[in-house]
């Protein structure tokens, strides 16, 4: 077995300890005589896994008691519909901050269900979406049922460097690519959702953290499986949940607690991101195109002087065991996704490779 450093934007690396534990238990979990994959979701063994996962997530994120934690399916893309279907409850209007492709998708989906407007956008930034919009309370309609943001923009390598002040309007955040990367004040949000496949578990699990007063007002045409109240009332077990993904999430939560929680995770993530950004800022062969104040700690976007050189970089990096560094097709260049499970040594190896590549490919200008 020869493991690589996998810089994929998602699905992405899982902690090696977690994978080893899952491997060890794959044919027989504890004294159950069966794999977690074979377990009835109504069994006491699985219920213990589910409750432990929720308890650990609450501890890690210091989730207040008046928030429900839901373990769902369908990814963030399903939440793009579930959020308006559940939350467009009073004035049937909501405001969206556009900071990239996923917030645009969320906005387009929400338009099916009510009066949905763009409150601010960084689409016009040069290069496109290289920053996030600055907003003040005045940017939002006072009767908006909620304001929506995408907190970390995987494709563009940006992150909100501030939490928008929306006054009494609930703030809804897609945190798919930054959840659990650092502490966050959950009480500043009405609802947080995240696909699991970057920092939590294998693809197929979606986490929703929602303030209780926002539950129970879904539109009548809401599919049962998208109704937060039904999911909350049934402890995420209205139907069979994605049991194995929830088990993997539990192992990841336990790993995070074992290393010291989100403060320690933030310290490690800052150390990894600083190593890479400091190097990028110290030379001229590579360019980090993102507005400095909103650089993502998870997704680091950079380019060389030409598309051909970018291509050569990705191919040679892959051959050296540094995989999936190609930038998103809409942006080009390179993207190093350095989520929680990427070890510091992986970023060291990347920076070493970048230095070597520069030496071997001197600029002609």
């Amino acid at each position: 077995m020869n493991r690589v450093y996998n810089f994929s934007a998602g699905p992405s690396m899982l902690p090696l300890e977690v994978l080893k534990k899952a491997q060890e238990e794959l044919l027989c979990y504890g004294g159950s005589g069966m794999s977690v994959m074979e377990m009835s979701h109504r069994s006491s063994d699985f219920e213990a896994i589910l409750h432990s996962a929720e308890a650990s997530l609450r501890e890690l994120m210091k989730i207040p008691d008046n928030y429900k934690v839901l373990f769902l399916q369908g990814g963030a893309s399903t939440q793009f519909a579930a959020v308006p279907l559940n939350l467009l409850s009073e004035h049937k209007c909501a405001d969206y901050i556009i900071s990239g492709q996923f917030s645009k998708k969320a906005f387009t989906e929400a338009k099916k269900y009510g009066d949905v407007a763009v409150a601010a956008s960084s689409a016009g930034a040069s290069p496109t979406f290289s920053t996030v919009p600055e907003t003040t309370r005045a940017d939002f309609r006072p009767d908006a049922d909620y304001v929506h943001i995408c907190f970390n923009n995987t494709i563009y390598g940006t992150k909100f460097h501030y939490i928008p002040d929306t006054g009494n309007i609930p703030l809804v955040a897609d945190m798919s690519s930054c959840i659990l990367s650092e502490p966050v004040d959950v009480s500043r949000f009405g609802l947080i959702y995240a696909g699991a496949q970057k920092n939590v578990a294998p693809a197929g699990l979606t986490i929703v953290i929602v303030r209780e007063d926002l539950i129970g007002k879904a539109m009548s045409e809401t599919p049962a499986m998208l109704d937060y109240k039904l999911m909350a009332d049934n402890d995420s077990m209205y139907n069979t949940p994605p049991c194995f993904c929830i088990y993997m999430a539990k192992l990841v939560f336990d790993w995070l607690l074992s290393i010291g929680g989100l403060e320690e995770m933030k310290r490690r993530n800052e150390k990894k991101a600083s190593l890479l950004y400091d190097y990028l800022d110290s030379q001229k062969f590579y360019t980090a195109t993102v507005d400095r104040k909103c650089r993502s700690m998870m997704n680091v976007v950079f380019t060389t002087a030409s598309d051909e050189l970018d291509k050569k970089f990705c191919a040679e990096a892959a051959a050296a065991g540094l995989k999936n560094l190609k930038g998103h097709r809409s942006v080009g260049g390179m993207r190093a996704s350095i989520y929680n499970a990427m070890p510091y040594e992986g970023v060291v190896a990347l920076v070493d490779f970048m230095k070597k590549f520069e030496m071997e490919n001197p600029r002609l200008d």
Copy 2:
């Protein structure tokens, strides 16, 4: 490791060979240097897994070329909404055959979206749902956009012993608890859907097989993730699919092909079910309550003379390594779910235990 015989109704047993293969590859798939759980869904390795899974499923079920195969999330319960949202396209009316709790749930959900009626029901059978309704073409409204059935009723241990004749009206079948248990003529159905957690893969994957002419007419308020056209146009990769479940499904499909496909699977399932039903029919200590002509090959429901004895049976069976034999709370008694992955030896062990239990607990009458 001491594996048990797990008679759970779902999630349920997976073939031991499949689990062992998954365990072996869990830290490193082929030469990729990573787990399938960590793989970008856009990588060539994962795309090969997805395409292989679809090709094997098409081969196993002999799926005609004019049907799309979709690998989705959300379980059958999500399809309860997706089916009417996509298929109530012309007359906005559909007919449901009620044969148990899941068909009732599907019916209730569909009522949100159109003129949905009960064409036939076995709710009144004694005991409840111990049979499936007989229907003729005259039972269905000529302008129905589709007719819906639940082909195997997990809770009650019944199965449709015939395919309803709906004329030109597309027949939609929930096959969650019988898919791949025997050959089925796909061309008789407009749409087949199934949660994976019984005969296919761990919970978190839903398979939809849909005739192409039924796609592309979804209602405007359909969430993107429930729109068959969007899913088909994007090869089930509109967003990140449940990659690991798809990989497990591929391993299960390959296992089915390796043993000889669905004809051989049917032979094995008949042998298992006959052993159990023949024993039940040969004695008087246990009662098989289901109408003989529609006995399920997957879920075998039986009782002793009293609730206390049922309880004792389940407890002692569990202690003997025969797990999860308790019947559904709405039915009581016992239920032995003997899906594809349950070996013949498991049913032999169950029948041996049943004989021993009868000897130890003689009837007093």
